[in-house]
C-alpha cells in the first residue's frame, strides 16, 4: 500500500519500461539461438502454442516429438513432428517486452513454414463486446491477408479486441512477408479446469496431438482420493 503523498503508477503500466530511467536497458541479456538449432528444409506448418493451458495439453504428447531446441530463460521449446513435417513451438510464460525478440528468434521457422498457426488462451473477461453472452468459451481468429489453405473456421476477432505478444508478432511478420498465417484466440473462463474440445480437435487436425482428450483435467481426474 502506498504511503501518503507517494506517487504510484497504475498496475497496467508496471510491465512497461521506465523511459525516464536509463538503466532499464540492461534488464535482460539478448536472446541467442542455440548452435544446434537446425531449421528443417521443409516445414508444412509451424504451430505456436502460448500459455499454461496449451503447455499442459502438450505434456503427454512431447514424448512423440523431436526436440529441436530449448531456451529455459524464456520457457521456449521447439519440437518437430518428423512424420508430418510440423514444427511446434511451446511458450509457457514470458515477459511481453521480449515478444519481438522471441519472434526474431523464431523467424527462420516463421519464414520457412508453409503455414503458421498460433493458439493462445485468454480470460473471458478480457473479451470486449457490446453483446451480452453467457457462454463460457469463445474462439476467435485473426487471419493474415494471404489466405491459408488450412481450414480453421472460427469467427473473426471483433474490434476493438486485439492480441499482443509473440502470436501477434508471428502473424504480423507473416503478413508483412505476404505469407498466410492464422492466430486462434480462445477466451475461456476456467482454462485450467476442463479441456476445450474445439481446441483439442484443432490440435488433432493440425497434427500436434494424436488423440482428443475432452475429459476434465481438474481434481476429479487426479490421483487424489476423495
Amino acid at each position: 500500500m502506498a504511503t501518503y503523498g507517494e506517487i504510484v503508477e497504475p498496475l497496467s503500466r508496471t510491465a512497461w519500461e521506465d523511459w525516464d530511467d536509463v538503466t532499464s536497458e540492461d534488464k535482460h541479456n539478448r536472446l541467442e539461438c542455440p548452435d544446434q538449432a537446425a531449421v528443417p528444409d521443409i516445414i508444412e506448418s509451424l504451430i505456436l502454442l502460448e500459455g499454461k493451458y496449451l503447455y499442459d495439453c502438450m505434456k503427454n504428447e512431447i514424448k512423440n516429438l523431436t526436440l529441436i531446441y530449448t531456451i529455459k530463460e524464456i520457457d521456449l521449446n521447439v519440437y518437430q513432428n518428423q512424420q508430418s513435417n510440423v514444427c511446434i513451438s511451446i511458450l509457457r510464460d514470458y515477459d511481453i517486452l521480449r515478444s519481438s525478440e522471441i519472434v526474431e528468434l523464431l523467424k527462420p521457422y516463421i519464414t520457412v513454414s508453409k503455414n503458421v498457426v498460433t493458439i493462445q488462451t485468454k480470460p473471458l473477461t478480457e473479451y470486449q463486446s457490446l453483446e451480452l453472452t453467457n457462454k463460457n468459451c469463445l474462439i476467435r481468429t485473426i487471419c493474415s491477408t494471404k489466405a491459408s489453405n488450412l481450414e480453421i473456421n472460427f469467427p473473426k476477432l471483433q474490434q476493438p479486441n486485439f492480441i499482443s505478444g509473440v502470436s501477434a508478432g508471428a502473424i504480423c511478420l507473416r503478413d508483412h512477408l505476404d505469407l498466410p498465417g492464422t492466430a486462434v484466440i480462445c477466451y475461456t473462463e476456467h482454462p485450467e479446469d476442463y479441456q476445450i474440445e474445439e481446441i483439442q480437435t484443432l490440435l488433432k487436425k493440425l497434427k500436434v496431438i494424436s488423440h482428443v482428450n475432452t475429459g476434465p483435467s481438474n481434481v476429479l481426474n487426479s490421483n487424489l482420493y476423495i
Binding site: R30, L31, L97, E104, L173, H176
Partner: protein, 247 residues
C-alpha cells in the same frame, strides 16, 4: 540478434511537403488518442504498415471500421491528402534497447520522402507541472521548425530546460525522437500536455484543439467539435457492459 524493420507501403504517391505527426507512447496515451481522433475525423487512408523488433507486437482488425477485414498492427502510417497530413500511429510501447535504430529509420524514411516537418505529440506527469495556473501544454521546437513565429503569436508556453538535453518525464520516446530529428536536420516540434492516467479522452480532444491553432487542419466556418469523429474502437475503452448474471 539482428533488428528487423519491414516497411510495407500500400500507396507510394508523393508526400513531399506533408506534416508528419508521431505520437509518443506516454502517460495517459494522450498523443496516441489524439492521433486516433485525427485519423478517424479526417477518414485518413492507411498508406503503410511497419513491422519492427523495436515495437511490442499487437494485432487486430481495423479499429476505425468495424466491417473491415484489414489487419491493423503496432505501427501504421495514415495519410490525408487534402490537408497534407500524415500520422504514424504507434499502438504499443517501444522496446528501449531497439528504439534508437528504429526511430532513426523513421526519420530517414520520411526525410527521403521530403516530408516538411515532424510534430511529436506526447504528455508528461501532471505532478511535474510547476506553475499550476498556467496552460497544461508546453512545446519545444528546433531551430529548423518554420512555424516558430506562429507559435509566438499564439503565446504558447515553452518547455523549461534545466540541464543539458530535453527531458520530458513520462513522455516516452519523445525526447529521443526530437534529438534524432535535430541530428538529421529535420524540422521538429514537440507538443506535450501535463496529465494523469485515467480517462484521457478529454486530454486528446484538448490536444487536437491546441494543434489545430497551429496547423490549418479544420474548417474555420464550422465548430471544431462538430468536425471531430471518435473512432469506433473507443466505445469499449473501459470494458464491456456488466454481466447479466448480476441482475
Amino acid at each position: 540478434m539482428s533488428d528487423t524493420h519491414i516497411w510495407r507501403f500500400f500507396d507510394d504517391n508523393d508526400i513531399s511537403g506533408y506534416t508528419l505527426i508521431i505520437p509518443s507512447v506516454a502517460v495517459g496515451n494522450v498523443g496516441q488518442l489524439a492521433s486516433d481522433l485525427l485519423i478517424s475525423s479526417f477518414d485518413m487512408v492507411r498508406i503503410a504498415s511497419v513491422y519492427s523488433t523495436a515495437i511490442i507486437p499487437v494485432l487486430g482488425y481495423d479499429p476505425y471500421d468495424l466491417n473491415s477485414s484489414k489487419l491493423s498492427s503496432s505501427c501504421e502510417v495514415y495519410k490525408c491528402a487534402t490537408r497534407n497530413l500524415i500520422v504514424l500511429q504507434i499502438r504499443a510501447p517501444l522496446v528501449y534497447r531497439y528504439a534508437k535504430p528504429f526511430l532513426n529509420e523513421v526519420v530517414l524514411k520520411f526525410k527521403e520522402k521530403h516530408v516538411k516537418d515532424i510534430v511529436i505529440l506526447t504528455s508528461s506527469f501532471a505532478h511535474e507541472k510547476k506553475y499550476i495556473s498556467t496552460s497544461p501544454f508546453r512545446y519545444v521546437a528546433n531551430e529548423l521548425f518554420s512555424r516558430k513565429n506562429e507559435i509566438k503569436r499564439l503565446n504558447w508556453m515553452e518547455h523549461e530546460f534545466h540541464d543539458n538535453g530535453l527531458k520530458i518525464y513520462g513522455g516516452g520516446f519523445a525526447s529521443l525522437l526530437f534529438q534524432i530529428c535535430s541530428e538529421h536536420t529535420m524540422p521538429c516540434l514537440v507538443l506535450y500536455k501535463y496529465c494523469s492516467e485515467g480517462n484521457n479522452i478529454p486530454d486528446a480532444y484538448e490536444m487536437v484543439h491546441y494543434i489545430a491553432n497551429l496547423l490549418p487542419l479544420f474548417s474555420e466556418k464550422k465548430d471544431l467539435m462538430s468536425q471531430l469523429v471518435e473512432p469506433v474502437s473507443w466505445k469499449l475503452l473501459f470494458g464491456r457492459p456488466p454481466p447479466i448474471d448480476i441482475y
